[in-house]
């Protein structure tokens, strides 16, 4: 298994946002996560990527325990992430944003990293604004930059946090195609998404979170048919 989360628990004071979570992801597998607002989806990402440390439980990645490993170590181990609220380096150019990940996340020199960064920008349709300041991008472009930057670190697993919201149907289809291409290169994907039809076009398996608990897991279509999930799903669509 590439990622193994076991008995993961996180509480902020008396609020429990991750409650005894178990989750495994195999290499080049694509797993989707849905759940209502505040279910603890982003918190799970922060725990995996090292922004938060768990109250209890273990996370193993690629054969080693991640406990105590800071975010930069997890990045270098092969975990790339995007932020739900984009966090671009506004005063660097779009290209430089990727270069940070390629140079520091993969320990490459700038010259070695250029070609890969250029190709990722091309793939995500950001080439035309490669030399623009990231602070000048629109929200949609910022979301793409999040993904491009994560890919620049050459991850084995990429964590995508709500990247399809607000897209037109055409753009959404494009995004699905892009994520499909990324999958083909052997990168595993863990994707939090409210836009269920986009999610379903990519994933092999679906996990449903509610109040920090995993309430369902399995083949996407089957999971969605369960009455308790259906209840929440209606809540999401509303």
């Amino acid at each position: 298994m590439l990622l193994e989360v076991a008995g993961l628990r996180k509480s902020f004071g008396s609020i429990v946002v991750a409650d005894d979570l178990d989750l495994t992801i195999a290499a080049s597998e694509a797993v989707g996560i849905i759940g209502p607002n505040g279910a603890g989806k982003t918190t799970l990402f922060n725990l995996i990527a090292g922004g938060l440390s768990p109250s209890a439980g273990h996370i193993r990645f690629d054969g080693s325990d991640l406990a105590g490993l800071p975010p930069q170590g997890r990045c270098r181990a092969g975990i790339g992430r995007t932020y739900q609220i984009p966090q671009p380096f506004e005063n660097l150019t779009v290209f430089e944003n990727l270069l940070v990940g390629a140079v520091h996340g993969r320990r490459k020199t700038e010259t070695e990293a250029v070609q890969a960064c250029g190709e990722i920008l091309d793939q995500l349709g950001l080439l035309k604004c490669a030399n623009a300041l990231a602070g000048s991008l629109t929200l949609l472009e910022r979301k793409r930059l999040e993904m491009a930057r994560a890919l620049a670190t050459a991850p084995k697993l990429v964590l995508l946090d709500e990247i399809a919201g607000g897209l037109t149907d055409g753009e959404c289809a494009e995004l699905v195609a892009t994520i499909g291409d990324i999958r083909k290169t052997g990168v595993a994907i863990l994707w939090i998404e409210h836009v269920v039809h986009a999610l379903f076009a990519v994933i092999d398996r679906l996990v449903v979170l509610n109040f920090g608990r995993k309430i369902a897991e399995g083949a996407p279509k089957e999971v969605m048919q369960r009455p308790d999930v259906h209840q929440i799903y209606i809540g999401i669509e509303a």
Partner: protein, 360 residues
């Protein structure tokens, strides 16, 4: 015809760091530097003394900018290293009988060596607590040096003329430029200050153009995101803290060689070595290399023409600082560079595409 997927021509990318503009500014920088080196031949003593002040404030501002503007380390305790550098120079020359020129790099080394244990303490603190911590540490340094009787204790001490005149080259300056000893001392200090300032500027610029500079730009904008892209935040911050402490210590040694008199209250003054420096960086533009240069020149001009107004001068300084923070948070350089897309010290890495290069 659409070219999708594999049919797309392979594009070859390359990186471009130095553009024509940067070559132009390199030439201008060399000319300015040459003019400054030759200035003592023409200029009077007052201007030389003023420029010494401008140069060391600019060097301190560049250090603080790297520290606070890039690495996010808002220290209000850099006077610890100014004072330390000054006292190391006094100890080495007065007690050890060393040459002042040698004492300046030693002051840098001692500052770096003490910055490491200091970092161990203050790096445990975050945000405002870090700022307060650095100030407390500087106060501790001040209290410790006030106890050293051999260096004048709380009242301080002076360098004898035999020490201040022992800077190599003073005799040469006297004959070559036909000036008397005090003026020759100022000219020697001027060249030292110029060298330190130019060295600091060059160091900061080279750091910002390196891979660490890329990381510092990322840390400046978004620290958490930088970490999740593999940037080793703690290591870079420690390196910046130690390097700027070394440079600040050397500048401190030079300042007190020029002043020839030191006391704990002056050498560890938070007003002189942190508040003014902070003002320079904030009005010039924090987080840019040009900002401190602009800020230092403005500060020098205000000091030169308005310092006679005493308290009003300080009130004006504070007001200007607050106005800039409120209405031009990126400083005066920010206003200029936004409008004219200008940079004097280009650090941008541009992506260049070579289209339609068929695959081999």
């Amino acid at each position: 015809m659409m070219d999708a997927g594999a049919a797309r021509p392979t594009r070859v990318f390359r990186i471009e760091t130095a553009d024509r503009l940067s070559r132009t500014s390199a030439i201008i920088a060399c000319i300015v530097l040459l003019m400054l080196v030759l200035l003592p031949v023409f200029a009077g003593r007052t201007l030389i003394q003023d420029l010494i002040f401008l140069f060391y404030m600019l060097a301190l501002a560049q250090c603080w900018n790297l520290l606070a503007g890039y690495a996010g380390l808002i220290s209000v305790g850099q006077q610890a290293f100014v004072g330390l550098g000054g006292y190391v120079l006094f100890a080495l020359t007065l007690i050890g009988g060393a040459n002042p020129l040698l004492a300046i790099p030693v002051a840098g080394i001692v500052s770096a060596a003490l910055a490491l244990p200091t970092a161990l303490i203050v790096f445990r603190l975050r945000g405002a607590y870090f700022a307060i911590g650095t100030w407390v540490v500087a106060e501790v340094y001040r209290l410790v040096f006030a106890q050293v009787k051999a260096l004048g204790g709380g009242t301080g001490t002076s360098l004898s003329p035999s020490v201040t005149s022992s800077v190599p080259g003073i005799e040469w300056i006297k004959t070559a430029l036909d000036v008397r000893t005090p003026a020759a001392r100022d000219i020697a200090s001027y060249w030292l200050a110029l060298a330190l300032m130019a060295g600091t500027l060059a160091f900061v610029y080279l750091v910002l153009r390196s891979r660490r500079g890329l990381a510092l730009g990322a840390i400046r904008d978004r620290e958490a995101a930088a970490a999740s892209l593999g940037v080793d935040i703690d290591r870079i911050k420690l390196a910046v803290y130690v390097a700027t402490a070394a440079m600040t210590g050397m500048v401190g040694a030079l300042i007190y060689l020029q002043k020839a008199r030191i006391s704990p209250d002056a050498a560890f003054s938070v007003l002189d070595w942190t508040a003014y420096v902070l003002f320079i960086v904030v009005i010039g533009g924090i987080g840019t290399i040009e900002g401190p240069v602009i800020g230092a020149i403005i500060f020098y001009l205000m000091q030169r023409y308005l310092a006679d107004f005493g308290a009003w001068y300080l009130i004006l300084l504070g007001t200007l600082g607050i106005l800039v923070m409120l209405f031009a948070p990126r400083g005066l350089w920010g206003l200029v560079s936004e409008r004219y897309d200008l940079t004097l010290f280009p650090t941008r890495r541009r992506l260049v595409v070579n289209e339609d290069r068929s695959q081999g």
